[in-house]
Symmetry: C2
């Protein structure tokens, strides 16, 4: 048996184990699409946990999905067999099991043309701008944000972030959507990257402000966002019932941000 075959079997057993933790299916009937997130997080990251990207995409496309959970307690190691960096979300689509929110989003985008045009030009443009959000913008903004919340006196990434945001401001001053003259998964991802409040207050960039307001004003975002808040509020109730503090780990979370990025 090859090592990765062994890992596959371990992953399958682990999925059964994770399933036993589930707080239940939130959206009615079982569906082929399952979005995995935490059972609870502190107040800080609520509304920003990345399961929102997948919820939002499903809402835009009208795809049925369920939400299941991994315990927040022990998150560093309790789902490494499903996500080797201990992060959330991951996505199941029937027999497919996908981690990385960017990969899950690309998978959903291929399922429905509301998220990505089907013509080669439109598809290439959408994928290109999704990659730009992940590897040209977020690659700078998330580490910058991390240094900010770590209380670094002199944030060595500030110049680079300012440069990237200004380059993007020029693009957004000249177009309503990033790709194909219409809303796509690239806008969903870029707006989710840009809506972080520390970024919104970093310099005056009106075109970017309008873009973020326009994209996050969509009903599908509003629904996904409200659903995430309600999900974690339900987690508060469960913790209260179980006698667990709902604030105890907030400090710890700020130090270990890598699993619940902004």
């Amino acid at each position: 048996m090859s090592p990765s075959r062994k890992i596959d079997i371990a992953a399958r057993l682990s999925r059964q184990w994770l399933a036993s933790w589930s707080v239940g299916v939130e959206n009615g009937e079982m569906s082929e699409l399952t979005i995995w997130t935490y059972d609870w997080v502190p107040q800080g990251p609520r509304g920003f946990v990345r399961d929102l990207r997948l919820r939002w995409a499903c809402e835009e496309a009208g795809l049925a999905y369920s939400v299941r959970t991994v315990p927040f307690e022990g998150r560093e190691t309790n789902h490494l067999s499903r996500q080797p960096f201990g992060q959330l979300p991951f996505l199941d689509d029937g027999a497919l099991h996908i981690f990385e929110s960017g990969a899950g989003l690309l998978h959903l985008a291929r399922k429905d043309e509301k998220l990505m045009p089907r013509d080669p030009e439109g598809e290439a443009e959408t994928v290109q701008w999704m990659m730009a959000a992940l590897n040209s913008i977020e690659m700078v903004t998330v580490p910058w944000w991390f240094l900010e919340i770590s209380g670094a006196a002199d944030n060595g990434l500030a110049g680079w972030v300012g440069n990237r945001l200004s380059q993007l401001e020029k693009v957004l001053a000249e177009r309503e959507w990033l790709a194909a003259d219409r809303f796509t998964a690239a806008d969903l991802l870029m707006a989710d990257v840009l809506r972080v409040s520390k970024l919104r207050s970093f310099g005056n960039r009106p075109a970017t402000d309008h873009y973020v307001a326009r994209v996050t004003g969509r009903p599908a975002f509003q629904k996904a966002h409200a659903d995430q808040l309600a999900h974690f509020a339900a987690g508060d109730e469960s913790r209260r019932a179980a006698g667990q503090s709902s604030v105890r780990e907030a400090g710890d979370l700020t130090r270990r941000q890598s699993d619940v990025r902004p």
Copy 2:
């Protein structure tokens, strides 16, 4: 005419303009695939400019391609109409024009199953690990590297980088390839992210060392790497002939790393 239509036309005109700069087609006959890179860079980034990712993918898949260039001088603004962040490479495939090396690589991977399996599981695993390379590993390693070369006394990203590399070490200790039990574009991308010398000397991670050696030992990498070095050496010759210094801008490049990341 919509704003983005105007940008398209500007981009088309700009492409004609860029084409007039080309140092010529390096790989014989014209092909549909054109990889755009700089005409010259200083010694430091040679062998690491990201056109290598696209060259390497084409070599693995046996896809014919041409290499064309944008002048290094004036790079901050001379190709913004093709790449809004002033970065290289970008890829042309006939009428398709794609920036972001990750997007170009995904496009090439879809063209040939040597780079990505055609079955849904193999494809999903490959895309997932490509996204992990771009958004879980490189999102930490590139800003960390930038702070290192900027001479920051205390690199606030060191702990996060160490954590990510250790998580990846555990994965690589148990498998030869990241996805689908075979070489894929995910290995190409992850090995390219990991082969940066500062990362290789950051802690003792033998499985990762073996992985990087194994993947970069492939003939297609060796060919792409040698071709990039020869390309910039030819740039030295052109600059000498034109009376330009080949080292003058090296200091400037170190400060402005974002266009020639490691």
